[in-house]
Amino acid sequence: MTTNLDTNLLSAALDRVLPPVDDLAGAGAMGLAEVVVERSRADDRFWDALSTVMNALSVGEFLSEDGDGQDGAIRAVESSDPNAFTLWLDVVYSIYYMQPEVHKRLGWHGRAPQPEGNSMPPWDESILSNIRKREPFWRKV
């Protein structure tokens, strides 16, 4: 699929779906458009979804719209091809939520699950005190 791949357009769209919050820039202003393109190139499905969304947005018109107008254009893409839009959005979210500055703002630990893992208090059998009183109720054959 050929792509209407204008980085300004993609950045502007990213800023609408993940807008600035507190002192954090929107996803587009954070420079994530290039990351979205790079990661999408690695998977045909991602690339097709990105292409579908970009091809449905008109560069000149979209960039000249105000915020509400841009949201409307994005909603039109969402309605016309929900599967492609959802996949594109999922990729965008996954990339946004791996950024250290986003983790910092959320108070999220921000590290990969392994190798550190987490700690938990050990199993405590006393929690079974109530359910242990119940008579067996499995259906006899």
């Binding site: 999922d90 990729v91 996954s94 946004y96 199993w123 067996p136």
Partner: protein, 537 residues
Amino acid sequence: MTTDHNTDRIADVLIIGAGASGAAVAASLAEAVFDVVCIEQGHWQDASKFPTTEPDYELRRMSSWSINPNKRKLPEDYPVNVNDSAIEPVMFNGVGGSTILWAAHTPRLHPSDFKVKTLDGVADDWPISYEDLEPWYDLNDHVMGCAGIAGDPANPPRSPRQMPPVPLGNDGEMLAGAFDRLGWHWWPSDNYVNTTRYGEGRDACNFCGHNMMGCYQRAKSSTDLNYWPRAIDQGAELVTGARVREITTDSAGKATGVNYLDREGNDQHRQARAVVVAANGVGTPRMLLMSASEKHPNGLANSSGMVGKNLMFHVYAGVTGVFPDHEEPWVGPAANMIMSQEFYETDSDRGFLRGYSYQTGRGQGPGSVARGANVPWGADHHKQLERRLGNTVGLGAIGDDLPEEHNTVTLDDRLVDSSGLPAPKITYRVSKNSRALLDHSLVQGQKLLKEAGAEEVDVNRFSREAGWHLMGTARMGDDPERSVVDSNGQSHDIDNLFIVDGSVFVTGGAVNPTPTIQAIALRTADYIATHRQDLKA
């Protein structure tokens, strides 16, 4: 690790597929001094390469580490046509099979699941009972290593578990309290996850929360870590990166081995005195149908016409509670910590037959939370994300999916795998009974979460990408006209052909099937070892 390539020798038993059941059969028969060879289209996995050590793990789970072969698209995967299916099958192809990516939640079927026709007047009875299978359930628990605790009032008594249960954590304790207050059943789940050191070189879980992308810690049990090392130690040969094209037969109709494509794509033939198919509930009917010949025009072992019919998944729906003051619910293995079987058995007042289990889950990173329900893009995104991140607890319902002949696995007319072999096509629709029991589960699930203190509950009416459990497509039975294999997994048509995966299930119950699949596989292996010495050179 690919051992011996003496392709001229005649093996006693050739196994197709190195997953949950193929591994169990290989170890059991190798220990019984059978000459065993296994052909597996995938490869060994290197735990250090699992994506949970990388910050982009949530993105990789959507692509190269997806549970869905149509998304993962590795050369060893085969595509599946799901255009006419309400559920997409998910699986993993490699040594260990889907136990590489599973949650390792390991309940057992109930005694009533084996007698559904007798008790509820629908589907069919199994030709075996829970009691028939129990010794092999216990044996499998020992090999795989089960964390849990005996005494569950919803199930028959069972032997002591190998390890204590997975800790419940804040979220589990909160839900347990709600179940108690409603007077509903709950019990710590059985899981094949180490809570202490167990098995060769396998430590306890470090509660990373994401073991469904492979367990870096090797605390989650998978058959590449236990059954396969045992099998290979006993002389079994495991050929990886090799794709079986067909099971071959002689003029008498007996299985003689397989034709397969080796790692380089070259045609090869391996001879065997018996063939065991362990390729899962989609791959096995595909294999039998691909093995059609002049003598078996409708596919191998298919005189009944039942191969590929009666496909069962389990149906899934779920509710997620938002608990604003909750802390760290992502801590703990993704495997289920609590199971409730309050609504497992048939109650005619509920408006459906059979029932469902509740499972609880963990392990949601911010990307996954963002992709979930009720987190919109745009101006309200950050508020809703923050409300949910670290503050949600999920309750999933796994529903009994009764067999129906119109739910099928067939060969697709056009779609092929990377070797040019026909891909499977799934035709499946959700029955009224399944929909009714899921609707019931959503109402009751919301009640439970509200009791637990949820301020808001997100509802997922149906999970499409949840076809983990592939069952029923070569079912067992006493009647050769209505079933594919007998109670020992032996084909009615071909006495040296056996099937040991979820294909042989007659009904599916409302629990994860792997312990049952493995118990059946071990039972079939024992049958071969004790009654089919004629298969040994």
